[in-house]
């Protein structure tokens, strides 16, 4: 059941209007409207195949919607846009890694590419936070699926961001990882970031989300 939306005076960071996505003749999403404001979290819920990941891919500009618009700060979202990449921290399920860079080198590279001033200190702190210190020198091919997930999530926290877009961030995390994730997302909200996440974990949604959009109710 959706929580009632809290009225917000701040203009939305992300605004989606009438988003429709078709694959051939199959309509996966039909006229979805949503907004995410700074300091608030919107959770997407729905059964497998309801279109959560498709919606996130359209919202982040990875896929083009069949109809409708997606705006970040009033500008159309296109993942090729440098401004969009600077503001949007995205962790989808298709994260790839450089086979020859270690855990810490991946994060170091992202932080520096984003021009983080004291990259080394931030990276060390995040590596410790996601409990990958022991794996800092390991290559991605040798990490477990849960460790890879933590590395992917960590990549979102070593860079400047205004909106976090996470696709099932709880996937493959252990209990301690889930607790860390919940705390981290609450902190991100408190720091004024907008969060859009798709999740199957009711506890995570309950703890983090200000609003819930149930895609099952919107199924075409």
């Amino acid at each position: 059941m959706s929580k009632p939306a809290k009225p917000s005076k701040t203009p939305p960071l992300l605004r989606v209007r009438g988003l429709t996505k078709k694959f051939g003749d199959i309509e996966v999403l039909s006229g979805v409207d949503l907004t995410v404001t700074a300091g608030r979290a919107l959770a997407l819920r729905g059964r497998n195949g309801a279109g959560k990941s498709t919606l996130l891919r359209c919202v982040t500009g990875v896929d083009a919607p069949t109809a409708g618009s997606v705006e970040l700060d009033g500008e159309p979202v296109d993942e090729r846009s440098v401004a969009v990449r600077r503001d949007l921290a995205i962790v989808l399920d298709d994260m790839d890694f450089f086979p020859d860079l270690s855990v810490i080198e991946h994060l170091d590279l992202f932080a520096r590419a984003h021009g983080v001033p004291d990259a080394e200190a931030l990276v060390d702190a995040v590596v410790e936070e996601v409990r990958l210190t022991a794996q800092a020198a390991q290559l991605p091919g040798t990490l477990s699926s849960g460790q890879k997930r933590r590395l992917a999530l960590a990549s979102a926290f070593v860079r400047p961001r205004r909106l976090l877009v996470l696709d099932e961030p709880e996937a493959r995390l252990d209990q301690a990882g889930l607790e860390w994730l919940t705390e981290r997302l609450l902190k991100e909200k408190a720091d004024g970031l907008g969060i859009l996440l798709a999740s199957h974990d009711p506890d995570l949604v309950k703890a983090v989300a200000d609003r819930v959009l149930d895609l099952d109710e919107l199924s075409p």
Binding site: T60, V62, E79, R80, V82, R85, R86, I90, L92, D94, M95, D96, F97, F98, P99, D100, L101, S102, I104, E105, D108, L109, F110, A111, R112, A113, H114, G115, V116, A119, E120, A136, A137, Q138, L139, G141, T142, S155, R159
Partner: protein, 492 residues
């Protein structure tokens, strides 16, 4: 308690019975369906034999100087050595003993006799290795215009050596030693030294056309040693760990899939991923700079971390000099561009990772073209420096002033680098495109051209140099490659 060989035989027979029960195509029907493949293989095989025979005739008559004759004689040996090195390296990559993932999961975990499960594989691998090694060695010997009886004995020798090496590799797989790794490296070094001697026109007597008598002795000795070691290998089969048997079995479907879809970059990805998985961890090197500079620094770190690519590139420098020693003339520029492409493509790994999915590219707050440029700067520079080192070979082959040869060599490097970028940024065959009906089923239109990616740019860059190995030709190549590179880098 381990089940006996008879029980394993009964189990395999049962599996065979189940499989036969599900067969919906007879062998004749399958052959009939695959008639195009069979017909093509026969035609291509006939063409290959014809080409080899023609080259045999040409090299017999056209190669008359002492240095050319020496080089030609040595190449027969070196081709054979290369053949057995390739066979051994492939055997090491795949196991040589392997089982399918299904057998690994369902049968290797059961208390069955492992020797009975994999002994057929030992025999099959030995036969395949012998045939491949013999065919490659025979081709080399024929191209070097060796007498027919020498070709025959050399072929037998290569075949028996390959059986011997497969047996050694199997024993090594069971014992978990470094023997095969060292052997592959040693054979590679010997091969390289041989090539250097030929390029220096300093061919030792050992590499001249062999006499039949020592070849016969060699065949007998290696055959006997091969049989003895095969017995040893057979007795070692039960010692091979499951993980080492399944490793090759896991790799094979990926490689087969990549080759079946003619996706060579996917094949490369599989090998690179396996290499780094085996390495497990690295000494952490912290980043430097920011923005695109951080990516450039990572490329420097990557080069330092993969010295084998640089060593391979440096070692491959012998090939252009060999082409000059063989008196290939203008055709020598093909040797430079092709060698640079083949040996240098491994420098562009990060470009490949950024091209195969967009997930990493979208993490960087920079235009895609800037990210790509930052990733290809250091590898391109390395290839250009490499090509500069081929200048004396270019000078020896095409003549002219040194400045002109520097321009030609650099243009060759530019062609190699651009072709490598094209290869690494290629997308897999697109199955969303219209499909064409073929005897092998429906295939996308981009399937057949995907295998040519990289080589098409290489051809485009090499043709002006072949026509005119002068600063004018070099300028044409540089201009064409700059345009291609700009297109490849700026693609969305």
């Amino acid at each position: 308690m381990s089940a006996s060989a008879a029980e394993v035989r009964a189990l395999r027979s049962q599996i065979r019975t189940w499989r036969r029960g599900r067969v919906d195509t007879s062998l004749m029907e399958a052959l009939s369906d695959a008639y195009v493949v069979v017909f093509s293989a026969l035609v291509l095989g006939a063409m290959a034999v014809n080409v080899i025979l023609n080259v045999h005739v040409i090299t017999s008559g056209g190669c008359s100087s002492v240095s050319c004759l020496d080089a030609r004689d040595a190449l027969g040996w070196l081709f054979g050595l290369g053949a057995i090195t390739v066979v051994l390296a492939t055997a090491r990559l795949l196991g040589p003993m392997l089982v399918t993932p299904a057998v690994g999961t369902w049968l290797l975990t059961a208390p069955l006799d492992r020797t009975a499960l994999v002994r057929g594989r030992l025999l099959g691998t030995s036969v395949v290795a012998a045939l491949v090694g013999a065919a490659l060695a025979a081709t080399g010997a024929a191209l070097s215009a060796y007498p027919v009886d020498v070709i025959g004995w050399l072929t037998l020798l290569a075949g028996s050596v390959c059986v011997l090496l497969v047996a050694i590799a199997t024993v090594d797989q069971a014992r978990g030693g470094p023997v095969v790794r060292l052997l592959v490296w040693s054979l590679g070094v010997v091969l390289w030294l041989g090539l250097v001697l030929v390029a220096r026109d300093d061919v030792p007597a050992l590499l001249r056309v062999p006499a039949v008598a020592p070849l016969r002795v060699g065949v007998v000795v290696t055959a006997v040693a091969g049989v003895v070691l095969l017995v040893l290998a057979y007795r070692s089969l039960h010692l091979i760990r499951r993980e080492r048997l399944v490793s090759g079995g896991n790799l094979l479907p990926g490689i087969s899939g990549a080759l079946a879809s003619l996706d060579l970059t996917l094949f490369y990805d599989i090998l690179v991923a396996r290499h780094w998985r085996a390495r497990s961890s690295v000494r952490v090197v912290r980043g430097r700079g920011s923005g695109a500079g951080a990516l450039v620094w990572r490329e420097v770190v990557r080069l330092r971390r993969t010295p084998q690519v640089l060593i391979g590139l440096a070692a491959a420098l012998v090939l252009p000099y060999l082409a000059t020693a063989l008196g290939l003339g203008h055709v020598m520029v093909v040797a430079v561009t092709l060698t640079g492409f083949g040996a240098g493509v491994g420098l562009f790994t990060s470009l490949r990772v950024l091209s195969r999915t967009a997930s990493l590219l979208r993490c960087f707050p920079l235009p895609a073209s800037t990210v790509r440029l930052a990733c290809l700067g250091v590898p391109c520079l390395a290839l250009l420096l490499w090509s500069l080192a081929t200048t004396p070979a270019v000078h020896g082959a095409v003549g002219g002033s040194w400045a002109s040869c520097v321009a030609v060599a650099l243009a060759c490097g530019a062609a190699s680098a651009t072709a490598a970028v094209r290869w690494m940024t290629s997308h897999p065959p697109d199955y969303r495109l219209p499909l064409i009906t073929s005897p092998m089923g429906a295939v996308p239109t981009s399937l057949y051209v995907s295998v040519l990616r990289g080589f098409d740019v290489l051809l485009l860059g090499t043709v002006p140099l072949l026509i005119s190995p002068t600063p004018t030709g070099a300028a044409w190549t540089a201009g064409l490659m700059a345009a291609v590179l700009a297109f490849l880098v700026s693609r969305p």
